[in-house]
């Protein structure tokens, strides 16, 4: 039986029939558009499908059932923190007072939301040990860009504009080097040491008068706390560079490690990871950024300010001339931030500490359960996630991590992140999160162990997986070579619609 629905759906373009739909909007007066200059008008109408609401609803309900999701099952996608999304938070974001508030409404009209944002900034500052927080960035990657541009501005303002290199470990997220490039820097990649941490000697050798910043994910993408973090930070600052912390893995260290206290100059939060805002099939998220003293002046504008009389307001354009400016329109993904605020309030300080304790305990438990069947490249306590590897299985049976991942689908699970970080051969990055029960962890471990057994006894079953999903493995090569990126009636004739 499939872990998702099995009925593939025709596209909306195949479902549409001329003349269907309507009844939503009153008809406008006939002369409504007469004042539009002829040259500015649309000549050929957009060929959007015409559908009754029933057909629309069935289409999207049936399509949704082809998805695996946290609400349908265990989703141990490493580096993504697929924890449960509390339903209260969805309710809260839809309260009319939040949902209907226009982002350019004057401050006096927006006091409720401004207060919430101000309090959320304070909470994130406390959690990270940073001095100040901006909520503007729309996602983690945009938070990274914010942080690196602030560093750039700081160096420019202090006569160090010649610093043009950013150091990133080879285990880093791809967003780190991509961000450095966007901000006009050259990326220098630092190898990892055998224990999974940053190679301190290589790191020191790369640091120099041209280094602007170092981007470190801690715990690393291997799920390991960077034990030499004190030495690393000291070396960064001794070289006159600044330290950026990628906060993607904050779920492991709430209440245990505050990056600002430890000496990081700037970090981003992924609220869709740590603070449980839903991942939405790829987004939205939000990527608030916290800064220490050095970078405070450069924070994006507008900031949320609290006046002496207790009211709140947004900074006016041009009010703080040192700001790097805007990263996007308006104040941020506020609807996402409402959910994060609700999550933090529901848990409180003690609850957030338990989040990390339980996330780390679950990961270590699962790691131990898998230690006999899989390679565990780093034999020490992990944080909220860990890397297992099928390197030995592959050597013995030819079955790869990709095959094991696909076979997990037949067992009813979403596969972990695979082949990331890039430095572990046949790696799978497994992140169970704190919201899963021990029964779920045991059942998942049993499945992975059973698949390791199948690799020996019936490798063809694993190599051909998945067998129960609505589709088998896809022809990705043709998709990239002859891209079909939009519907055209011809496509339907060539590739018949299912059902």
């Amino acid at each position: 039986m499939s872990v998702t629905g099995e009925r593939l759906q025709p596209t909306i373009f195949e479902r549409g029939r001329p003349g269907r739909g309507g009844g939503k909007i009153p008809h406008p007066p006939k002369d409504a558009l007469d004042r539009l200059p002829v040259g500015a008008r649309r000549v050929t109408p957009a060929a959007l499908p015409e559908m009754n609401e029933l057909d629309v609803v069935r289409h999207y309900v049936n399509l949704s059932q082809l998805n695996y999701a946290v609400d349908t099952g265990f989703y141990p996608l490493g580096s993504c923190t697929m924890k449960f999304n509390p339903k209260l938070n969805e309710w809260a974001a839809r309260l009319p007072g939040f949902a209907n508030l226009h982002p350019m409404a004057p401050d006096e009209v927006a006091q409720g939301t401004l207060q919430l944002l101000w309090e959320l900034e304070r909470a994130l500052a406390e959690i990270s040990g940073m001095r100040a927080v901006t909520l503007q960035p729309a996602a983690g990657a945009q938070g990274e860009l914010t942080g690196i541009l602030m560093i750039r501005e700081h160096h420019r303002a202090t006569g160090q504009g010649h610093r043009d290199e950013v150091l990133v470990p080879d285990s880093s997220h791809g967003t780190n080097p991509a961000t450095a490039s966007m901000a006009g820097y050259r990326t220098i990649t630092i190898p990892s040491a055998p224990d999974g941490g940053v190679d301190l000697d290589a790191f020191r050798a790369a640091l120099g008068p041209k280094t602007a910043a170092v981007m470190i994910t801690n715990p690393s993408t291997l799920g390991l706390f960077e034990a030499r973090i004190g030495e690393l930070l000291e070396a960064v600052h001794a070289a006159g560079a600044l330290a950026y912390m990628d906060g993607a893995n904050l779920n492991a260290i709430l209440g245990r490690f505050k990056p600002g206290e430890a000496g990081f100059d700037v970090m981003h939060f992924n609220v869709h990871k740590t603070f449980s805002t839903p991942h939405g099939g790829g987004g939205p998220g939000a990527g608030p950024v916290g800064v220490g003293e050095t970078l405070g002046p450069y924070l994006p504008s507008p900031r949320v300010l609290r006046e002496d009389d207790g009211s709140f307001r947004l900074e006016r354009p041009g009010e703080r001339s040192t700001s790097i400016g805007r990263l996007r329109s308006f104040v941020g993904n506020t609807g996402v931030l409402v959910r994060a605020y609700a999550y933090i309030r529901a848990h409180g300080g003690s609850g957030l500490c338990e989040v990390s304790d339980d996330a780390v305990l679950a990961a270590n438990y699962l790691k131990q359960r898998l230690a006999d069947a899989y390679d565990i490249p780093f034999d020490r306590p992990c944080k909220h996630e860990f890397v297992a590897s099928a390197a030995t299985i592959k050597k013995r049976t030819g079955v790869r991590t990709l095959d094991i991942a696909k076979r997990l689908i037949d067992f009813g699970y979403h596969p972990p992140t695979i082949y990331f970080p890039l430095i572990v051969e046949e790696g799978m990055l497994i992140e169970p999160t704190e919201t899963e029960s021990v029964e779920t962890l045991d059942a998942f471990a049993d499945a992975l162990i059973a698949i390791a057994g199948e690799a020996d006894t019936s490798p063809e079953v694993v190599l051909g997986a998945p067998h129960t999903a609505p589709v088998r493995r896809l022809d990705e090569a043709t998709a990239a070579r002859q891209p079909n990126l939009r519907w055209r009636p011809m496509t339907g004739a060539e590739t018949p619609c299912p059902d």
């Binding site: 406008p28 999701a69 939040f98 209907n100 009209v109 791809g174 973090i229 245990r256 589709v471």
Partner: protein, 451 residues
């Protein structure tokens, strides 16, 4: 679990954090039970005054979103999934993105649509970066008719070493408030600083219709690419970017069924011609087949993306706005092509009504050119008038002195809009309150204008 690990305390799992670097106590309030938290949130939401008769647009518009949109979005299979890395169990998300790409391709009349960007501002900035990559030039011209937040965002994205210059607006005459073509031509003629891209908006920030075909022709004649910043509902009635030669379209998808929610999450629309497909940032989903030849959908052309290409990627974007792209798709299919046209036309009709009534109340338009559903009126001491109108229950659009502080010609301007949800009663309320604030009491004239 502790026992299975041979541990007595979870603290033992954190011993790798150097003692000197361990966190101080997490000083946050106690956990709050759901009932109390719900009351707190309700109270905060109630402090926002969302009951005003609103004429505020400026890039974010109130529209009727059929309840089907939000009810379908609330399915956990949609909003609690992530990026479709495992296509076999993500066909719902993948097909929905393909359908989104196709719907938007129809609307903008371009072939390639990215799976989504953060918002209109970030999409515009990414479009500007695309023009630089594609032409290997380092200077972009952006019209002052583009939303000030989009201009500011593009400026920030260019801090890595690219140059952004603003094209002024025509000061007076019939074309007042639209992109100054003569100035554009001069700026394009600089032989030392060749231009990668020209960016203009339709309708522009002041609600006016810009000479897009002419801007495109000038850009192309100088070897630059042309980026059109568009509002998607307007494309039901206004010529789409593909029809006037734009190479890239960027825009804010919020009007397609997405609530204002004080700034986001929204939907960054980014589309291009086929020729630019390898330069476009963000995910792309394509149609393909599985091993059995069954039709299926998959993320494709991934070599542009950061997780594969790292420092050579087209952008650092990872998490996008997928759920909002889904909202836009559901909105478009529910409302349909005729419905979308009615939304645009009814908004235009309401705006014309608003124009007449405000003029009668003493606030005439500032620019003579045509508009769709948003325009600027001249009001002396606009900031004070705006504040006093809030007391009268009216959110009288946007004070341009605040939004465009360095353009003195807009100092007396209020940017106001109407959409299909604007009622005649609201329009009369606005005009009557304005009349009272301005010291006129010509209510019969207003009533006449409404008729």
């Amino acid at each position: 679990m502790l026992e299975a690990l041979g541990l007595t305390s979870v603290d033992q799992l954190f011993e790798d954090i150097p003692v000197a670097l361990r966190a101080s106590r997490l000083d946050l309030p106690e956990p709050e039970p759901e009932l109390e938290l719900a009351a707190r949130l309700t109270g905060l939401a109630a402090r926002n005054r969302t009951g005003l008769a609103s004429f505020l647009g400026a890039g974010v518009y109130r529209h009727w979103s059929p309840p089907a949109v939000d009810q379908l979005l609330l399915r956990g299979e949609w909003y609690t999934a992530y990026t479709p890395y495992q296509p076999e169990i993500s066909q719902g998300t993948l097909q929905s993105i393909y359908e989104y790409e196709s719907l938007l391709a129809e609307l903008v009349d371009l072939d390639v649509v990215s799976a989504s960007h953060y918002d209109g501002a970030a999409a515009t900035a990414e479009a500007a970066l695309m023009t630089c990559r594609a032409t290997r030039r380092e200077r972009v011209l952006i019209s002052r008719g583009v939303h000030p937040h989009y201009r500011a965002t593009t400026q920030t994205y260019f801090k890595g070493g690219l140059e952004l210059d603003e094209i002024p607006l025509v000061a007076d005459g019939d074309a007042a408030g639209t992109t100054d073509l003569a100035a554009l031509e001069r700026m394009l003629a600089d032989p030392v600083r060749p231009v990668a891209g020209v960016i203009a908006a339709q309708p522009d920030f002041l609600g006016l219709l810009d000479p897009m075909p002419e801007i495109g022709r000038l850009a192309h004649a100088a070897g630059a690419l042309f980026v059109a910043v568009v509002e998607p509902v307007s494309l039901a009635v206004l010529a789409p970017p593909g029809a006037y030669g734009a190479d890239i379209a960027a825009g804010e998808g919020q009007p397609l069924g997405i609530a204002p929610q004080y700034g986001g999450p929204y939907l960054g629309i980014l589309a291009s011609t086929d020729a630019l497909v390898r330069q476009i940032p963000g995910r792309l989903v394509g149609m393909t087949t599985d091993l059995d030849g069954k039709r299926a959908f998959v993320m494709t052309m991934r070599a542009r993306e950061q997780d594969i290409r790292r420092d050579k990627a087209a952008s650092n974007i990872c998490t996008n706005q997928a759920l909002l792209a889904l909202a836009a798709s559901i909105y478009l299919t529910t409302i349909g092509p005729h419905g979308l046209r009615d939304v645009a036309a009814l908004g235009a009709s309401r705006a014309a009504e608003l124009e007449g009534v405000l003029a009668a109340a003493g606030a005439a338009r500032m620019h003579p050119g045509p508009y769709l559903n948003e325009f600027v009126v001249r009001v002396p001491d606009a900031r004070t008038v705006h504040r006093r109108l809030i007391e009268a229950g009216v959110l009288a659009g946007l004070v341009l002195a605040d939004a465009e502080p360095d353009d003195p010609s807009l100092a007396d301007g209020l940017l106001v809009c109407a959409t299909e949800v604007t009622t005649s009663a609201e329009i009369v309320q606005f005009a009557a309150a304005l009349s009272a604030v301005l010291g006129h009491h010509d209510v019969p004239v207003i009533a006449e204008a409404v008729r």
